[in-house]
Symmetry: C2
């Protein structure tokens, strides 16, 4: 900027400030003007902000503050030294993703705060306001009275304007694998989740929720709250203040007497608010990616989205074990080849093998978990290189598995060796796991220590050209833009709960909530595609609580660049419905949420890159419903063969879950048809242009 | 038999004779008594017979005679010297086939005829009468006045009792690839077929029909006529005598002045009459096999029914050529591997490669066809051993192709070498072809010379453990029982006519006639499974004249131990309907014709060996219709997953042939459902027991 323009801008800002009722405010709106943010100081000099959507206040005056170890809090007594606005507009390309091109258009407001007295500490509050939401973060410059800081709490308020309907899980410091609750904000009681079963670790210290947490106002505005670019910081939960209808950050702590240790200069993660007039717009938003830094990996040619199967579900069905002792070892050379053969014959790209390395005899339920895994030594009945060669000879690859048993020290010791082994084998993907309470004791899965560990894993993997699919880690925060080798994470109550959870598994509405909550954070390795819904014969008391067509639809509804055909090869045999998985794309040119209401139903269409094939997935909760599909997303003038995988007329998630119908018909962009979804049902459609 | 029993039998026979109105008759009936045969001499001493079904005359008095070169005819002046009856009952096991066990129960009548004067020649007329029909043959013992015999004609009459409805093709000496006519017997005019197009060779000397020829009487009795165990004899056609509603054998001749050359002792083939009260019983009958000799191959373990694909249809679509010259060679190493990859990934067992060997540049349309093929030299762009290794490495095998161009001398010279090559490569199947007029000139595809050639091929192949799938050869006559390496033959107007026939291809009713006519002779290599029904883009003026579901149904309707997925790999991609072909069995424990009327519709269910899976195929002609499927063929008490591949509600063989619907449902032996077949439509169902 030239000096003149800068001066002119400051004049405008000054004019804006003087027009405001509060002292020295900053104001910024989104490019279209639909979202307005105001930043100001409260009477006691505390930094605060409000957010409006279409002239309606959606975030009421919310204060911002920090508490520190051995240092006075940073709260009152602040003044705004300056407030600068700027605009940014770009379109960037995703190496893989829900769409190829992402528009990144925002107006930015940078407000500089300083303590008027005492320590005279300063920080900048940076808001980026988009048409689909906003993010803000604290930037602490290097300064005399803030060098090494020990944050004991960040008190960022998000104050609501009414008692919204909320879809939430508790602010657990160790795990996200809870069922969602749907309640009014005033009824949120995360502590009820302390009465759990089926979890290897959990810690819910206060009445807080995990993010993303999503809400709907009575006037039909959708809000979702999360954080972006969580790096070298503790994850955020949001403590619930029923009285004030407010939320305040409650960072994940540890055995330490602080929650975050940083050295100035540093930034916090972005506190992110998505705002939409339509539920589906939450999902179409790429706000979380726009708030992250561009890719640090230059050559992304080795990053290939894949469809995979693997030795995994059979352990959950008690058909085999991860451990070799006991004589029912799943990851044998022979069994791996069986999965590879199926994958090769059915258009899958990769095979996951869990339980391939020694140590599983003691992996869980003991405090002494360090050193049990070395991530390089296969069980004697598993020919690691032979299996890799066999797969690669068929044009597939193996997905390596690193279960850490949450013994972080051991993993970090072996990290480079383990990823070097993968690289030497030509393996470009690893699934990590962190089952159990974290070692060292007193850390939690979401604490700063662990956030930094996950980052170290990600960067080590990138160095060895390996993509990571992480389980039992911290919630994704859009880092996949910066580190595109971060393929997917779990971070939810996944398919495996259907196999053994004592509460009966995930109810039919589970995955009608997940796309509007968990999925806003990033790709999900949910592992859909269970065809043997009733889980016979080994699991008489469990089942998957959806129809088979619902399972197929999940491949489109749930975005991930790694999509597992999770069932056993033999359970797919003879199923014409498997064709949908064969045809399925896993990397998208564009994605459109056609319709949906949180917890009720959702329909998404995605176009595959390069082929131009379209895929549609629609699911419903325990209610049967008819959805109308208008195919105006298809290319005009092109005739497509649409293959519909629908619930059979008498299908029902409990009574008759595996009954489906496949229809093949020709359609164009002008077509329209109604589709009946069964209770707990779904529909999957492929649209392939006629040659 | 002891002498006493023999004497007692003769007394009974004598009593029977005296009870008969004709002189010295023989009489025999089927085990259940439903079919009665009488053998006697006419007033002039000619041998004759009648056949009744349920006390109703179905074959009126029909005389028997032979004419010879340089020898008086054998016709009148005969007397019956003896008539002996016996019974036979066995159950034999098919190494592969429509069913595992075949009941072979018949009563036999052996009548010894002798000329009363002159040459005093003798012969025995042997009738075997079953509940599903009968066969009779002439047995000429060694005798003074008959050593080497040159038969100029066999005059075996089959005189009908009314002007039946007949499904027939002309008595062509060179080819069976005609469309069936449906007419009253009195309207049969085979000579109209001389006006042909699309045939590389044809010769229709008189108004005769080929066998099997099938009829329906006004009272609803079904009759079909063919021959069994055609060995060292000319094939039979049946000349039409409109006036007497009679047929008489008209053997296929050649340039020679006789039709059959034999040395006594010898037998003629069996003249076979199938009789049924239900059309489907014609198909369930194994009469033709029972009339053949037991297997001469002891070790049949190498005989594996297969599903295959191959380089074949693409030539018919003008996408490539058999010849290498011209630059569009189909049988390249690379293309073969493409088919192998598809086969390996889709549960097929074998890949046919046509055009692999040199010579195709001059293969057709020239008189100088000897010596163009050597059956061992691949084109330079085809790595024979490499392709075989590649296929075998994936657990598949190659089906070798021997097109002879009807140049028999060349093929016989190379025969042992060619089959030794196959054996050395571990190949156990060869498809043979005989396109064009036979060389040596003056022979026909159905003459004794060629019958003997085909037999030589079959026996040479057996020696080298190779199964034969023969095209453009003589009609099958049940020799597969004796030589189980005789897998299938063509002997009909096949799928390829749909690709290029100037008459628009096979009409929708074609394959509702074939099961009741051609298929009574034996396994058919029809090559079903065209999914790209409209044949775009290279064949804008042709199409397959059925729906896609009809194509699937053919895999069950048309029996063959070699079933081709005939379409191009790319035309199967994305089709969930291909699952039916993946699942399909090709070797059966049992087969049941559930329903059917000739030329209208047919429904067959077959149970796969070993797995117990059932498959059902139903097709209709150009009429839409609803069929009822009762699943009482399923094992009681077992729940099956039935996957139905049906015509879409708006499907139509011409207007919308590729529209189909797949339904998956659970059924038991008590289930019953109605299925709508589109015009030219069909249905295919797999029934797989739930685990």
């Amino acid at each position: 900027m030239t000096k003149n323009i800068r001066l002119w801008m400051l004049l405008i800002l000054a004019a804006a400030f003087s027009a405001c009722q509060k002292s020295i405010p900053g104001k910024v709106q989104s490019p279209s003007g639909n979202i307005q943010v105001e930043v100001f100081t409260l009477a006691d000099g505390q930094a605060a902000y409000t957010v409006s959507f279409n002239q309606q206040l959606v975030i009421d005056t919310s204060g911002l503050a920090f508490e520190f170890l051995d240092m006075a809090p940073l709260r009152a007594g602040l003044e705004i030294r300056s407030a600068e606005s700027s605009s940014f507009s770009e379109t960037w390309e995703m190496p893989w993703g829900e769409q190829r091109y992402v528009d990144n258009n925002y107006n930015e407001l940078r407000v500089s705060f300083a303590e008027k007295e005492a320590l005279k500490r300063t920080f900048e509050l940076l808001f980026r306001v988009y048409d689909d939401g906003l993010g803000f973060r604290f930037e602490f410059p290097q300064q005399e009275n803030m060098g090494e800081v020990f944050i004991t709490e960040e008190h960022t308020q998000i104050n609501l304007t009414a008692d919204h309907k909320v879809w939430w899980i508790p602010g657990d410091w160790d795990i996200y694998e809870h069922l969602y609750s749907t309640s009014r904000f005033s009824e949120i009681d995360a502590l009820t989740y302390r009465e759990h079963a089926n979890l290897a670790q959990t810690f819910i210290p206060v009445n807080a929720v995990s993010t993303p947490v999503t809400m709907k106002t009575n006037s039909g505005i959708y809000l979702s709250f999360h954080e972006a670019a969580l790096v070298d910081y503790a994850a955020m939960t949001l403590a619930i203040d029923h009285e004030n209808l407010g939320m305040t950050t409650n960072l994940v702590g540890s055995w330490r007497d602080y929650k975050v240790e940083r050295q100035t200069p540093f930034n916090t993660p972005w506190r992110m608010i998505q705002i939409a007039g339509r539920a589906g717009d939450l999902i179409e938003s790429r706000l979380i990616l726009n708030l992250n830094e561009p890719s640090k990996i230059e050559d992304t040619s080795w990053l290939k989205p894949v469809k995979y199967n693997g030795i995994w579900w059979e352990m959950h069905l008690d058909l085999s074990t991860w451990a070799m002792a006991g004589g029912r070892h799943g990851a044998t050379t022979q069994n791996a080849k069986r999965y590879i053969d199926f994958a090769a014959e059915n258009g899958l790209d990769a095979v996951l093998v869990e339980g391939w390395n020694t140590g599983w005899e003691n992996w869980i339920g003991t405090a002494d978990r360090e050193g049990i895994y070395d991530f390089v030594t296969p069980y004697p009945d598993y020919d690691l290189r032979g299996v890799v060669d066999y797969a690669q000879g068929k044009g597939l690859n193996i997905i390596m598995h690193h279960e850490t048993s949450a013994a972080v020290g051991t993993y970090e010791q072996q990290l480079d060796t383990a990823y070097a082994l993968a690289e030497s084998l030509g393996i470009h993907a690893v699934k990590t796991g962190y089952v159990g309470t974290i070692l060292p004791e007193g850390e939690y899965h979401l604490s700063q220590f662990m956030v930094n560990h996950y980052q170290k894993v990600l960067e080590t993997a990138a160095k060895h050209k390996v993509a990571v699919n992480s389980h039992e880690t911290v919630m994704a925060t859009g880092l996949r833009r910066t580190w595109p080798n971060f393929f997917a994470s779990e971070n939810l109550r996944g398919q495996e709960f259907n196999a053994w959870a004592s509460d009966g598994g995930n109810p039919p509405d589970h995955l009608t909530i997940v796309p509007f909550t968990r999925m806003l954070a990033g790709p999900i390795d949910f592992t859909p595609g269970i065809f043997n819904i009733k889980l016979g014969p080994t699991k008489p008391n469990n089942q998957v609580n959806t129809t088979l067509a619902h399972q197929l639809a999940l491949y489109v509804v749930l975005y991930s660049p790694v999509q597992m055909a999770a069932d056993l090869p033999q359970n797919y045999e003879g199923h014409p419905a498997f064709q949908f998985i064969r045809d399925l794309g896993v990397d998208w040119e564009q994605s459109k949420v056609l319709d949906g209401e949180i917890g009720e139903y959702i329909t998404i269409a995605r176009q595959e890159r390069d082929t131009g094939h379209w895929f549609l997935g629609g699911i419903t909760n325990e209610e049967s419903r008819e959805i109308m599909v208008e195919t105006n997303f298809l290319e005009p003038g092109v005739t497509y063969r649409a293959t519909l995988y629908k619930d059979a007329p008498n299908a029902h998630w409990m009574e008759n879950p595996a009954a489906y119908v496949i229809e093949s018909q020709e359609v164009t962009a002008d077509s329209k048809f109604g589709i009946k979804l069964a209770q707990g049902g779904g529909v999957a459609i492929s649209f392939i242009p006629l040659k």
